[in-house]
Symmetry: C2
Subunit: 143 residues, 2 copies
């Protein structure tokens, strides 16, 4: 298990890559780091605005795209019609999303390893299953 990078360290990494470490970026990194869940661009923007109200949402989008391209965050579509983001350093897992109550249950990556292996052997397909979203009904709603 890789040690979690704190946003300060991610910031240093950015600078070493030749990017500038602006206060906006630091706040965005903090918001990403502090969220337990996956958060949307709007969530991040709201959190950042609490301390620094003039930050524009397009800055959030631009920073997220940069971090995504550098492999520092993952982008997932959990079916809400908007993307959600998650620091890559926090590791991979998948989501069971209840279509009735909206609950999301995290499941470990290992659960999908057998499927991954089958796809590779039978189809030669290398599945990139970070943050797969599986819809259905949770135990409570099935009653």
């Amino acid at each position: 298990m890789k040690r979690l990078k704190r946003s300060k360290e991610v910031g240093e990494a950015l600078r070493e890559l030749g990017y500038r470490l602006t206060p906006q970026r630091q706040l965005i990194l903090n918001a990403l780091q502090q969220s337990d869940d996956h958060i949307s661009a709007e969530d991040i923007h709201a959190q950042v605005c609490a301390k620094y109200p003039q930050v524009n949402i397009s800055t959030v989008y631009r920073t997220l795209e940069l971090l995504k391209n550098l492999g520092l965050v993952t982008e997932t579509d959990l079916g809400s019609g908007r993307f959600r983001y998650h620091p890559a350093a926090k590791g991979h897992h998948h989501h069971l999303i209840c279509e009735q109550c909206g609950a999301t249950i995290d499941v470990d990556e290992s659960l999908l390893l057998p499927l991954k292996r089958t796809l590779l052997m039978e189809y030669g397909f290398h599945a990139n299953m970070s943050h797969l979203a599986i819809f259905g009904h949770c135990s409570k709603c099935r009653g």
Copy 2:
């Protein structure tokens, strides 16, 4: 294996449910039925317009929502930024989508049964995995 319903029969079903069977709806049902692949609202609109040019895309969207709510079509997000539709009667299968060349490979539902069983046993979660989309790299692109 359930017999495929022809669009005429789906139309009858609609009428029996108290909905009106308009020419627009018949054309939309035809387009859905004749497509081998999953098609987008825009694809359907283009096809419908070939015979009946004044049909508006909002009618396509409204019809698709009706059919979706009645369980007659399934809606899937194959990662293109737009939804794709498929007649429910044509059966379930899943998609491997190559992130490099964009190829989509259909895989049978049975491949996911072990996973489905695991999710049910370990999490009490009843996965509704019609048209799951799995991203990755196909054998050609892995070269």
